[in-house]
Amino acid sequence: MLNTGKAMKVCIYLSDGATRHGVPVYSSILDFLFYRGVAGATVTKGVAGFGADHHMHSASMVEISDRLPIKIEFIETREKIDAILGKLEELAGTGLIEMQETTVLKPAQVSKPKQTVPPTHLKIEGKAQMMRIYVSEEDRWKDKPLYEALVAAMRANDIAGVTVYRGILGYGAHRRVHKDKPLHANHHGSVMLSAVDTEEKLRAFLPLVDQMVAEGLVVFSDVNIVKYAYRALEMEAQS
C-alpha cells in the first residue's frame, strides 16, 4: 500500500512492436506488475518518438506505425521496486528503464476495503425461500403493469433477485369462474415472478403483496441456495 511521502517513480520506454514469447512486452510487464501487487501502473502510447536505434517512429508512417513508443509508468516504494527490478530489467529487454524520486501527496483511494485474498468467486450456500407470484399480465397497479410494479417494489426492499416469466398458456384463481367456457383456457396472459431471499425478508414483503395483488397466487417453497458471486463481500459489507 502506497502512503503519502517519499516514493519512487519508474518509467519504462519500449517500442510497441516489441514482443516477448509472442506477447507484447508492455502487456507482460503490466501483468507482472499487477501480479506483484504494484500500487498502480499506466501504459501510454506515444504519437511519435525515437529510441536507441535512432529511427523515427511516427503514427503518420503507416508501415511502421506498429513501432510507436510505449511508456509504462508506475509509482511504488523503494523496497518494492528493489524487489522487482531484476525481473523487470529482464522483461524490458532492449527497452530503457528510468527511475526518479517522487513525493506522493495523496495516495489513490481504494473504493472498498482491500480483501487480503481477492476471491475469483465466492460460493454461498444455505437455506432460503423462493417466492413465486402468479398474476395476470393484464393486471395493473397504479399506472403500470402489476408485475413491473412488483419488481420495482422488491428492488426497493432489497430482495436479492427476481425474474419475471411469461407463460404461453395458463389460468389462475380468477379464471375458475369461467372454467365452463373452454376458450378461456387459451388466454395468453399469465406471468410468474420468481424471487429468492431469506424467509424473513420475503415474509416482511408479503404485506405489500397483500396490498398490490388483488387476485393471484403466491407460493412459498424452501430452497437451498448455492450462489456464486463476485460482489458477495461488497454486498455483505453493505447489509
Binding site: R132, Y134, Y165, R166, G167, I168, L169, G170, Y171, G172, A173, H174, R176, V177, K179, P182, A185, S190, M192, L206, V209, D210, V213, A214, E215, G216, L217, V218, V219, F220, S221
Partner: protein, 117 residues
C-alpha cells in the same frame, strides 16, 4: 379475499412437440387441470434446454428445431394434486415431473366483482 394454506407444486418438463391424442401435450394437461378444477396452472416455453433423451431443445429462433423445452407449473392442495397424478402418469411419456411442498397465499376478488369482468 386472502387465504393461506399448505399446498403442493408440480413442475412437468417435456418438449413442445410432445403430443397427446394429436393435441400438444401442454394443452392437453392444462385442459385436464381445468377439468379437475386445479387452482393454478401455467405453461412456460424455455429458450433452450435438454431433458430425458438428452437432446438439446431449442426455441423457435432455430427454424429447423422447433421442439422448445416446456415447463408446466401446477399448484394446488395435496388432495387435488393426488387426483391429477394418475393422469400425468398416463399422459407424460417422456418427461420429468418434480413435486415440492409449498405454502400458498391466494388472493381472490369477491364473486360479484369477477362476474363484472
Amino acid at each position: 379475499m386472502k387465504e393461506q394454506f399448505p399446498a403442493r407444486m408440480v413442475r412437468i418438463h417435456f418438449g413442445e412437440d410432445d403430443r397427446w391424442h394429436g393435441k400438444p401435450l401442454h394443452e392437453a394437461i392444462l385442459a385436464k387441470c381445468m377439468e379437475l378444477g386445479i387452482a393454478e396452472a401455467i405453461v412456460f416455453r424455455g429458450i433452450e434446454g435438454y431433458g430425458s433423451g438428452s437432446r438439446i431443445r431449442y426455441s423457435s429462433h432455430w427454424p429447423l428445431a422447433k421442439d422448445a423445452p416446456i415447463q408446466l407449473s401446477i399448484v394446488d392442495t395435496e388432495e387435488q394434486i393426488a387426483r391429477l397424478v394418475p393422469f400425468l402418469d398416463a399422459m407424460v411419456e417422456n418427461g420429468l415431473v418434480a413435486t415440492s411442498s409449498v405454502e400458498v397465499v391466494r388472493y381472490t376478488r369477491s364473486a360479484s366483482k369477477v362476474a363484472e369482468d
